[in-house]
């Protein structure tokens, strides 16, 4: 029951962050909102593992945390220098 409530709360937060992605004035608003959505999805994957009684989903959650961090930094580096450091 409380796990379902947690999933619903995470869903509401994801929808609100998607509103910011749609409205965002600058690109940095969108990057920030997508980063927050990634964090919420990490929690959602872990909670889904608990709801389905399959804790293996936690491994996917760890991987997604690392990908979220690297992805945000790649986009920011592309914004600030105009390249990803390959030339």
């Amino acid at each position: 029951m409380m796990l379902i409530a947690g999933m619903i709360g995470l869903g509401v937060a994801v929808v609100l962050a998607l509103v910011r992605v749609a409205l965002g004035k600058t690109a940095f608003d969108r990057v920030l909102a997508v980063n927050s959505i990634g964090t919420l999805i990490i929690l959602g994957i872990a909670l889904h593992g608990f709801i389905m009684d399959r804790p293996e989903f936690i491994d996917i959650s760890v991987l997604y945390a690392i990908l979220n961090f690297i992805g945000t930094f790649a986009v920011l580096k592309l914004f600030s220098t105009g390249s990803l450091g390959d030339r």
Partner: protein
């Protein structure tokens, strides 16, 4: 025992839902990139900590607990770093924070007319383009 572990988990989930929804509301409502970073920080610290504490209370002593602690520690260290990087790159690209300008004494609020905003945006783009061209010159 007065509190069972499940009620403790329910309490943690309640606090987690509260902080996550408050952070997302701030992400929508606050007026500026730099203010929104503050709201995203609530999601990344309070929300993640409470949700992971609740899941730890449910999982007991097992390998799952270790992995949950790993996720918590990783997010605890990386999300402030990414927020800091977003603020730094936004400042480099010429987006000015709202509030009182200490050099001229003028107050720049969220209620400024949209014409001014577009003008400042254009100038920021020009600044960024100038910076890029300067960097290219240095490289070549």
């Amino acid at each position: 025992m007065l509190f069972s572990l499940e009620t403790l988990a329910g309490l943690f989930f309640f606090l987690g839902i509260l902080s996550v929804v408050i952070g997302a509301l701030g992400l929508v409502r606050l007026p500026d990139v730099y203010a929104r970073i503050h709201a995203a920080g609530i999601i990344d610290t309070a929300g993640v900590t409470f949700f992971i504490l609740g899941m730890i209370c449910l999982s007991g002593w097992s390998l799952v607990t270790v992995k949950l602690v790993l996720i918590g520690v990783f997010l605890f260290f990386t999300s402030p770093i990414s927020g800091h990087a977003i603020a730094k790159v936004a400042l480099e690209c010429g987006i000015k924070p709202l509030g009182r300008d200490l050099t001229s004494g003028q107050i720049k609020s969220a209620a400024t007319p949209p014409q001014k905003k577009t003008a400042s945006k254009k100038s920021s783009k020009k600044k960024a383009a100038k910076k890029k061209s300067a960097a290219k010159r240095v490289r070549s």
